[in-house]
């Protein structure tokens, strides 16, 4: 019975399979086949011998990676920057969306939105240039610090200022861009709720606290989960430009390490090992966070 049904269903459904084919092919070709490259983490890869002929080395690459004294420093630096992004940059985007949402004058709202988006389109190189001219040893800020207090600060060439500057740069460049999804979610809140609250005598802050924030709660949770998934990544360009020999203690992150080892030294296998570690760690983080979100009654991402 069942067997004879199948061809019939296929005949009915084939246009849909055809429609889906390009998408499936895309995932197979560009997402699943490249995953086979992960075997290189267990090989001593030489591009000239090919993937097949490179010798197996078992877990040597992983042993070398976890064995370096750099491993814990890299882990700490990477996670700390992500964590700071999570607790400072991320709430800031929500705060900014709320501010934009509370604007009543349409034109003013549009203009301010455009203005806060703009820095997103500057490249990191430009941002680094701006940072140097403001925070550099002979930059504007140090100039005034010296004139007023008789001493400057080593913003760009010390361990202490590296993380604050990174977060500040991220906020300056991308906070406006990060508001887009929140604003879309805010637009979906039913205005009748506000009107009802007004009748009950709620003021603006009470509106925000009791209507707006609960209205975008699920969006916040989903975006938070997605951010957790990339917490092993750092913004390579940003860190690469900001790093120098005086802040290496805090600026050396996995992505930078992969760049120096993998690309500059042609040590592909080792770079893939580090990349694989990052991916697995991120996957665990996301699954755990998703589980936690569901346990707390939120929807989660899957």
């Amino acid at each position: 019975m069942q067997r004879s049904l199948r061809p019939k269903r296929f005949q009915q459904l084939w246009p849909f399979y055809v429609l889906a084919a390009p998408g499936i092919l895309y995932f197979v070709i560009f997402h699943y086949i490249p995953m086979s490259g992960l075997v290189l983490a267990f090989k001593e890869y030489s591009p000239f011998k090919g993937i097949m002929n490179s010798p197996w080395v078992g877990l040597d690459n992983f042993r070398q990676f976890f064995g370096t004294s750099d491993f814990y420093i890299l882990l700490k630096n990477t996670l700390l920057i992500s964590l700071l992004n999570l607790v400072i940059y991320f709430p800031f985007t929500i705060f900014l969306s709320l501010l934009l949402n509370e604007l009543r004058l349409k034109i003013f709202k549009r203009v301010s939105q455009t203005i806060v988006y703009l820095p997103h389109f500057l490249s990191w190189v430009v941002i680094y240039g701006i940072t140097i001219s403001f925070f550099g040893p002979s930059g504007v800020i140090n100039h005034y610090l010296e004139a007023w207090f008789g001493g400057g600060a080593n913003f760009l060439v010390s361990n202490e200022w590296f993380r604050p500057l990174i977060i500040f740069q991220s906020i300056w460049k991308d906070a406006g861009w990060g508001t887009i999804i929140f604003l879309a979610a805010l637009a979906g809140i039913n205005p009748e709720q506000y009107e009802a609250a007004k009748v009950d005598g709620a003021n603006r802050l009470q509106n925000i606290w009791h209507i707006t924030l609960p209205g975008i709660k699920s969006t916040i949770v989903i975006l938070l989960l997605l951010r957790l998934g990339s917490s092993m990544d750092s913004n390579f360009m940003q860190i690469f430009l900001m790093t120098n020999s005086l802040n290496l203690d805090v600026s050396n992150v996995f992505d930078l390490f992969v760049y120096h080892i993998g690309l500059e030294q042609f040590n592909y296998s080792f770079a893939i090992t580090v990349g694989m570690f990052k991916s697995v760690a991120s996957l665990i983080l996301v699954l755990a966070a998703n589980y936690a979100a569901k346990a707390l009654g939120e929807e989660g991402i899957f």
Binding site: P47, S138, L156, L263, E264
Partner: protein
Amino acid sequence: MNSRRKLVPLMATAALTVSLLAGCSGDNNNAAPAGSASPAGNSGKAAGSGPASIKAMTILFGNPPAAENNKALEDLEKRGNVDLDVTFVPSEAYTDKLSVAVSAGNSYDMLLMDGGKDDRFSNLVRMGAFHDLTPYLEKTQNISQIEDTVWNGIKVDGKVYGIPRPRGLYGGGEASILIRKDWLDKYNLEVPKTVDELTHALEVFKEKDPAGGGKTIPFTIFAVDGISSPGPFSGVLPIQFAFGIPNVWELEDGKAVRDFQTPEYKAFLEWLRDAWSKGLIDKDAPVLKNQGQARSKFQSGTAGAFVGNVSDLVESSVEKLQQTDPNAEIAIIDSLEGTDGQKGVAVLGGYYGLWAIPSSVPEEKVQQIIDFLDFTASEENVAFSKAGVTGIHSSDFKDGVAVQTEEQKQQYDLDKPSQFVLENRVDPYIYANSKVPEILEVQKASLDIISKIGVENPFLSYNSETASKNPDSYKKMSAVMTKFVLGEGTWDDVQKEIDAWTNGTGVQIAQELLDQYNAEHQ
């Protein structure tokens, strides 16, 4: 019926997978003509039939030559009987691009290994990345004129895997100090000849502030990345040699001594620390990433001195300087002496970059590529690189200087004939590139002077595997040295890092280099 329906797409996917994997793996035997994006057809044919098509990748500083309707390229292709496709990659992105090009395997016929014979190059050779070019070199007329010292420096296991692009043996980038002559004149100072005179001149610059508004930077240098080499700053070589510091390594009683292990290095760091505390050194130095950034500070008229080479005397860089200060003049300090008369300039490999031919290129094509490189290194192309095509880029070429109208000059700057001369001819005066005869004289004289005070690095052509496996080993040392110079750390911190190196990885690195040296000098 059913099973066949299932099977067909499955097989198609399998076939696709296999072909993709083959494409990724850079298989040596069948890759080159079929997979390559370059106009194929010629490549497979025997040598001598029609122009050879050559796809090359090279490093670019500044703007690329005109991509379309480039008369210089057309002319060179015609004379060299080639179909040339050069990818110019900006220097900032070169490392990444090279890495991709190497791992892709079959995309280029020749690649410029910009680091020369370094660990990366040697590793790639051992992986079998490049053709052994030794047998092809005998027939060459121009390439074979490159000195034996240069050839010996680039050989891996006694074989040539890359054609060096000859440069002066002395000073590619950091040979001599350039200083503002007009500022010196203003305060009745001679061009400094010793470290003390230089320090004094810098102090005067700091005090009198010739750039105005407190903007004067007496001396601009830049940070080292701390990954390939240790040290607080780059752009200080002439001063290091004036302190008597060896060129990276020296041999003492059969022992290998690294520069930072010598007592002279401490004296040099103390000079830097002192100069820093007096404000003689660019405050931005720790965040400057390369010589280009230091150079642009000098050319913008705020810096009094920086370390470059004689080509920084060229008229275009003076013109740039004169846009902010019409009276600007540059003097060059060819050799700076220390208290006991020590001075020097690093003897380098005598080349910049190696042309390597990926092993995916078919053997019959290798000879064609070598022939073309040999052709570009010919006498006629020396004239071509300086004067371009007669009638388009210049009207004449006399005594090594192109005679150009303003219009021809513009066309020359647009087409950049010299960029297509991929292999240059052996020429000790290669950095003397001014078109003004007087400047050219000064440049040549300066090159003559520094050629007499070369300091050799006995291990220049050897590689240490330990060093290449520990690319981060100098990072901490650089950091403490920089802190010491900036007055934030003590000498004890620096000494501790140096001792750690001396008793740690340094032992192996020195031994590996010494072994190679001893093997060759028995």
